[in-house]
């Protein structure tokens, strides 16, 4: 099957500044693809080239089989874009805006269905100017969805959301995927990428430094497991059972066991604790988080 987005050796220079230096990736249809990276990494430039706002200096870009630089209407019919903070006709109501933007497309999705999807039904008769920040973001999403696009660009869709609103937005985005839409997402939030993306690409200084699923990115699945717990007073590290291949260290009051054999070590430790009647307070077993991997990849600026 053809890719929804195909980028091959993309370059973009502004004068002498090279913002994008040879980026390649492909997004299969129906996938959620997430572009991560620090500010100035070239994410926005790459996204704007895909959206047709900018021309590449070099390289090949295909979006749904089209060259986005040509801005063909056939492509615009099938793409929805949510940009950060974009103006709107403030004096029109949510319902009027959905009707207005719906007319731009050949096969619009009924307004009633769209407001259901973004949970804005109660605001149908509210003017855009009177919406709260979160409602306004949901309206942005609604207007990108009203053309029933096959591909959706979301630029930091939950920036400025409270935690509850973010969870809601995530569930909306997931329901879009279940409708077979392809989603191209940029975000600063690791948990967002972790929770939504099928594939993550990390951009640093104009290049993709890692690409993969959130589970395997940067060899995350092969990294050692970390087990943390606290020992009661009077019980030293020396009394712990032998853990082959594991490294023991102190992390403040806690003990940190780093091991490639997470399951075995967990079993050995818990069996030992039960046998001795020792409580292992705050016992946790964790993979390195996507954030750990990301920070390692991007040079770990804290």
């Amino acid at each position: 099957m053809d890719h929804a987005i195909d980028v091959c050796d993309l370059h973009k220079s502004y004068g002498t500044v090279e913002a994008v230096r040879g980026v390649s990736f492909a997004v299969p249809p129906g996938a959620v693809f997430c572009l991560l990276g620090p500010n100035g990494a070239g994410k926005t430039t790459t996204t704007e080239i895909l959206e047709g706002h900018r021309l590449p200096t070099r390289g090949r870009v295909r979006v749904l089989g089209h060259d986005p630089a040509r801005g063909q209407r056939a492509l615009r019919e099938r793409v929805g874009v949510v940009l950060q903070s974009c103006g709107i006709q403030d004096d029109l109501t949510v319902g009027e805006l959905l009707e207005m933007y719906g007319r731009y497309y050949r096969r619009p999705r009924p307004a009633a269905e769209v407001v259901e999807l973004v949970e804005l039904r109660a605001s149908l008769a509210t003017r855009a100017a009177a919406l709260s920040g979160g409602q306004r973001r949901r309206l942005d999403l609604a207007l990108a969805l009203v053309g029933d696009p096959d591909l959706l660009f979301l630029d930091e869709p939950t920036t400025g959301f409270d935690p509850h609103a973010r969870r809601q937005a995530w569930s909306t985005i997931r329901s879009l995927c279940s409708l077979g839409k392809t989603v191209f997402l940029t975000t600063h939030f690791m948990d967002e990428a972790q929770s939504l993306a099928d594939q993550v690409a990390v951009m640093v200084a104009g290049r993709v430094v890692a690409c993969g699923s959130p589970q395997t990115l940067g060899g995350r699945d092969a990294l050692p497991t970390e087990i943390r717990f606290r020992l009661p007073d009077g019980v030293g590290l020396g009394s712990l059972p032998a853990l082959p291949g594991a490294a023991l260290s102190r992390e403040g009051a806690a003990v940190l066991v780093t091991t490639g054999q997470g399951v075995l070590a967990t079993q050995a430790l818990t069996a030992w604790a039960l046998e001795r009647g020792v409580s292992l307070a705050g016992f946790t077993v964790a993979q390195p988080t996507l954030e750990d991997v990301y920070l390692a990849l991007t040079g770990g600026v804290w």
Partner: protein
């Protein structure tokens, strides 16, 4: 019917809907509709009341009100089609509305038809109000035979100002600074263009400057409809010609600015 014809019909309907939504936005926004409609009305009421019954000696004893009504209609057209529109389009550009529209299938021309069409409607409503108050309230003498000239002048004047407004809006960096900036252009032009008072005894070069700008030909063309010496349909060749030239200049500026508005570097 061919697919191309169908697509064309669909786009024309789309442009008509754009006009409808732009109109709705305009009238719902009190700040826009009141400042752009009420000010000229206020001028008419104040000037009409002050100079009631007086005549202009230098203009073959033309009643003052027959000078004011077309002058203020011309001023109102400039306010609506130039200042109001330039600020609205500059705002749409700086607040990202144009950026939101660009990835949608809405063609550029349909957006332009929407705002220009809506401006024509607002001008029609404002002018009808001003004419009605002038004629019914102050006894201005509108000659119905000259209506074709009046209409054509008003339409050309509106299109000229609207295209110029869209053209210069690309150069307005912030809509807040636009109002005083536009006033630097519109106020002096108003003072030399026979809209608030007749410019008698002015040096020739000043009159020539005024005649080459769009406001004076618009005011003169409209004034013909109130002048007892006007014959026929009231079509003022020289004024219409100047306005047509400004429509072309505005059109070129507009098309260029649209390129700049959707710049792809």
């Amino acid at each position: 019917m061919s697919a191309a014809t169908l697509a064309w019909r669909r786009d024309v309907a789309l442009a008509a809907h754009q006009v409808r939504y732009e109109q709705r936005s305009f009238w719902r926004n009190r700040r826009r509709s009141i400042s752009n409609i009420a000010f000229p009305l206020m001028f008419l009421v104040v000037f009409g009341g002050l100079q009631h019954g007086e005549r202009i000696g230098a203009r073959h004893d033309l009643p003052f009100i027959d000078f004011y009504v077309p002058g203020i209609v011309a001023y109102s057209i400039m306010v609506l089609a130039f200042g109001n529109l330039a600020i609205a389009v500059a705002a749409a550009r700086t607040n990202g509305l144009l950026k939101r529209l660009r990835p949608t299938p809405l063609p550029d021309w349909a957006y332009v038809v929407g705002i220009v069409g809506s401006t024509l409607l607002a001008v029609a409503i404002a002018s009808a109000l001003l004419l009605a108050i002038g004629v019914a309230g102050y006894g201005a003498h509108l000659r119905l035979a000259t209506l074709p000239g009046l209409l054509l002048t008003a339409v050309l004047g509106t299109v000229a100002f609207a295209t110029l407004a869209i053209g210069i809006s690309a150069r307005i960096s912030s809509p807040d600074s636009a109002a005083p900036l536009l006033a630097i252009v519109t106020l002096p032009m108003s003072f030399i263009s026979d809209v608030f008072f007749p410019l008698t005894g002015a040096p020739h070069w000043l009159t020539d400057v005024a005649r080459s700008l769009p406001l004076r030909p618009l005011a003169d063309g409209l004034a013909a409809a109130f002048d007892p010496r006007t014959h026929g349909a009231g079509l003022q060749g020289a004024d219409l010609r100047t306005l047509a030239i400004w429509c072309i200049i505005g059109g070129v500026m507009m098309v260029r600015s649209l390129g700049a508005l959707s710049a792809r570097d």
